[in-house]
């Protein structure tokens, strides 16, 4: 599988008078797992929509494997090797689980070479991978939420992607289910697929990301190793509020001054 980098260059997205994204730039190296986080309204999902062709960016460019992809329509994106899941899962309710995944296999990147029969076979393989083989013949409408999330992933995998965008795949899962989801993502990654994971759940992000990109109010405010990024002042400000962050800094300042004062003049100890 050829591996290619996703380059997001000074991307801006405007809706009416509001800039949902502004001057966002970063590169996703092939084979990595990048976590994308940010408080409410930071533009994470908008960015996912820009990458997957739902929106054409107002400014900037998105390139993949050296090709400009910002203006590629949604249905053609998967042919380039990029697939996504949706935050609000979108199963084909009237079709069975197997048929859902088969549709992806029929129309995805390698779909043209596959017959319907081969597509169903591929679907069966993928259902095994994600752990849905036991419900293969049930209508998708009957699945539980964790299973629906698995189905979203399976459908995306059916497109034979090199790059997978996961939009809040863990939302609504309990602790055990989150662990299972993380295991699944690791398994997918192990096949050489690059992952961009958008999440609110910090523990999940820290656990799985190699790099974390933080958006706030449409701008990139941090990028780096998970622990570094989550401890950085800019990120703390974005999540907890600028004034609180400033106050904490002041409190820390006072504390430091007090300690250095104590060091300089240690209190008399009674002997």
């Amino acid at each position: 599988m050829t591996r290619s980098a996703l380059k997001i260059e000074r991307v801006g997205m405007r809706f009416g008078g509001l800039w949902a994204l502004r001057e966002v730039s970063f590169t996703v190296e092939p084979g990595t797992i990048v976590g994308l986080i940010g408080p409410n309204g930071s533009g994470k999902t908008t960015l996912m929509n820009v990458i997957s062709g739902v929106f054409k960016p107002t400014e900037g460019s998105v390139s993949y494997a050296g090709r400009q992809i910002a203006h590629v329509p949604t249905y053609a994106i998967c042919r380039l090797g990029i697939a996504r899941t949706f935050q609000i899962v979108k199963p084909f309710a009237a079709l069975t689980v197997r048929e859902n995944v088969a549709v992806g296999a029929m129309f995805g990147r390698d779909g043209a070479k596959r017959s319907t029969g081969a597509s169903f076979a591929r679907a069966e393989e993928l259902l095994e991978t994600v752990g849905l083989a036991r419900v293969a013949t049930r209508p998708a409408s009957e699945l539980t939420i964790p299973d629906r999330k698995r189905l979203e992933v399976a459908k995306a995998l059916a497109l034979d992607p090199e790059l997978l965008l996961l939009d809040e795949v863990m939302a609504g899962l309990n602790a055990t289910e989150v662990d299972e989801a993380l295991d699944l993502l690791r398994a997918v990654h192990a096949r050489g697929i690059t992952l961009i994971v958008v999440e609110h759940l910090m523990k999940a992000i820290v656990s799985i990301s190699q790099t974390v990109v933080v958006l706030a109010e449409g701008k990139k405010i941090a990028q780096g190793l998970p622990a570094e990024v989550l401890g950085s002042p800019a990120v703390i400000e974005a999540y907890l509020g600028a004034r609180w962050a400033k106050r904490q800094k002041q409190v820390a300042e006072v504390e430091r001054e007090r300690e250095s004062a104590l060091d300089a003049h240690p209190p008399e100890t009674s002997t």
Binding site: N40, G41, V235
Partner: protein, 240 residues
């Protein structure tokens, strides 16, 4: 603007969610009559879901919410409004195609008394900006003005408990300050307030007590002044 003695809000072991996704796990909190209490937490924690459950917009799976002696759980949203519990929703949710005045009158929709006009006058004196914008379409106002309209609309229903969801989102600090002042004034008339915020400083400045919600559970609570400097808050938001 409040009617009768101050009313408190008690939430006990509330579990709620959407479809088969559970969002809130055994949430308990208390808002004493006349208090201002804050609920803070990162996005995705379930703050809006909690307010939705109290307001009757989100289905409660188990547990109860009470306003004084009155049980709110199971009531239809308009029943909860009649009980005096009003929500100022996240994102304002104004009727954009209606004027400011019409939005305010809509707040009084369930009222059958004759003092609506008097209340309208009183609220507009409290918020002179709204008088200036009285005939403007609500959708054309600035963010800060819209937030004022949203709060005023809720006040038109003569609330005894006010639930405010993410008031500071998208607003400049100066505007937030003035809105906090407004809240203090409202509280002074006997309205109990539960303020839900992502912004820690805003929430803890105006409240006497606070709760921290983390992935659907209350993990921290206490006097706001104390919590303000508690490092555990950062952990609740960022996990580190």
């Amino acid at each position: 603007m409040s009617e009768g003695a101050p009313l408190g809000l008690v939430v006990e072991n509330l579990c709620a969610g959407y479809d088969d996704t559970q969002v809130l796990w055994d949430v308990s909190l208390e808002l004493a009559p006349g208090e201002i209490v804050a609920l803070i937490g990162s996005n995705g924690a379930g703050k809006s879901t909690l307010l939705g459950a109290v307001s009757g917009l989100v289905r409660t799976w188990s547990g109860t919410a009470r306003a004084g002696e009155r049980v709110l759980t199971g009531l239809a949203p308009d029943g909860i409004v009649t009980a005096g519990v009003l929500q100022v929703p996240q994102g304002r949710r104004l009727f954009g195609g209606l004027t400011v005045e019409e939005n305010l009158r809509m707040g009084a929709y369930l009222r059958r008394d004759r003092e609506v006009a008097a209340d309208l006058e009183r609220i507009v004196s409290l918020l002179p900006r709204l008088r200036e914008r009285y005939d403007f379409l609500a959708g054309r106002l600035s963010g800060g003005e819209q937030q004022q309209v949203a709060i005023a609309r809720a006040l038109m229903a003569r609330p005894r408990v006010l639930l405010i969801d993410e008031m500071s989102l998208g607003l400049a600090p100066v505007l937030v300050e003035s809105l906090l002042g407004l809240l203090a004034q409202i509280n002074a008339t006997g309205v109990s307030i539960l303020i839900v915020e992502q912004d820690v400083q805003t929430a803890l400045e105006v409240s006497s007590r606070a709760y921290v919600l983390e992935t659907g559970r209350i993990t921290l609570s206490g006097p706001s002044a104390q919590l303000l400097d508690d490092p555990a808050i950062r952990k609740a938001y960022l996990g580190v």
